[in-house]
Symmetry: C2
Subunit: 213 residues, 2 copies
């Protein structure tokens, strides 16, 4: 994912990792970008990235079977991030209502984010204002729209229109972003979340790469 | 999984697929066994296998994105099961309290079952009575014990004992089955459940193969 971002970025001064979760991708982006800001709605998530950056390590547990778990620890050194830590910072924020100082990015990467926003259209209609000239917007999502995250009237796809035709998210993204962005690239990318030592969630997200006009 | 069963089975007259769900493995076992009985606690599940067997097809939908889904249909012919259907039968039943006529099996295969039983010990203590001489018991499970399925006092592993030592399921299985069974083989096997066109659950179950003494 970060390799795709690096491939399409025109300039590499500052990147935003929006919906950064525990921040692994923010560090990876720092291999390419001089400065990376990671933002997530969840304070609990960004505390993990911050801890790794500031203390140089994070300790966590991995579920084994039943209530048994294995204690694990990972350091900046293990990950090869020692030289990158000072380039990265983590912030709590709402993608639909970001503070004005989060701006002037060469890349905004929103990973598995848009189908969890309460108003994804609001995000897409204003995101160009935070990008520099030739800035890149990279969206990654499996388009699993759900009412618990997004009221149905705000879904960008995954429903039938009044004529009974299927509305797919990628087509709506093209309509919404067309005036302000050029679509450079689309591909499927697999993500794996380890739930226990024996259970894994595999998600095939669609990546779309857009360049600000 | 059914290939492992076929490899270790001494006799191939009758097999039981316990926790058969929608019955795919029951048909696969019928490639090796003259007669296969599939049993599941869920009537809704066994209706799928029964429908395929009796009507020769099942229709179902696959979630795409949001509320969109794709209609699909599969036939006995598609699956190469035309000659096997008459060997298979499906029944509703409780693995911890099976009716007496479910007996005289050369193989009992319990796939992803033991960590969902309300009393797995009761099942293991009596299962040998339903096997023929030289009969094979094949257990497959990721050992994801959970209180919603099994009260904690009935877990066969996944907890710490009074001395703080981890109790792992495979070790308890060896203790419980040792008198009546010889352990022939253990291996890890990956199962994939497709949740939507873009989401998959991968589970690495442990398979253990036991021969009745």
């Amino acid at each position: 994912m970060c390799k795709i971002a690096a491939k399409y970025a025109t300039n590499t001064t500052k990147a935003l990792d929006l919906g950064c979760a525990t921040g692994r991708a923010s560090f990876e982006l720092a291999k390419t970008f001089d400065k990376v800001e990671g933002i997530d709605f969840s304070v609990r998530f960004i505390q993990v990235g911050s801890k790794l950056q500031e203390a140089g390590y994070v300790a966590f547990t991995c579920k084994e079977e039943g209530e048994l778990s294995i204690n694990k620890k990972v350091t900046l050194q293990d990950l090869g991030y020692e030289q990158l830590a000072e380039k990265v910072s983590f912030w709590q924020g709402d993608a639909c209502n970001l503070k004005p100082d989060f701006t002037a990015y060469d890349l905004i990467m929103a990973t598995n984010l848009i189908d969890r926003l309460y108003n994804p259209r609001l995000f897409l209609d204003t995101v160009d204002q935070r990008l520099n000239a030739d800035g890149i917007l990279m969206l990654t999502s499996p388009y699993t729209w759900q009412e618990s995250s997004t009221k149905k009237e705000f879904w960008l796809g995954g429903y039938k229109d009044e004529n009974g035709n299927a509305v797919r998210t990628i087509e709506r993204l093209k309509d919404i972003l067309h005036d302000k962005f050029e679509l450079l690239h689309v591909e499927d990318l697999e993500f794996v979340i380890k739930e226990t030592t024996r259970k894994y969630q595999h998600t095939v997200s669609q990546v779309s790469v857009w360049k600000k006009r």
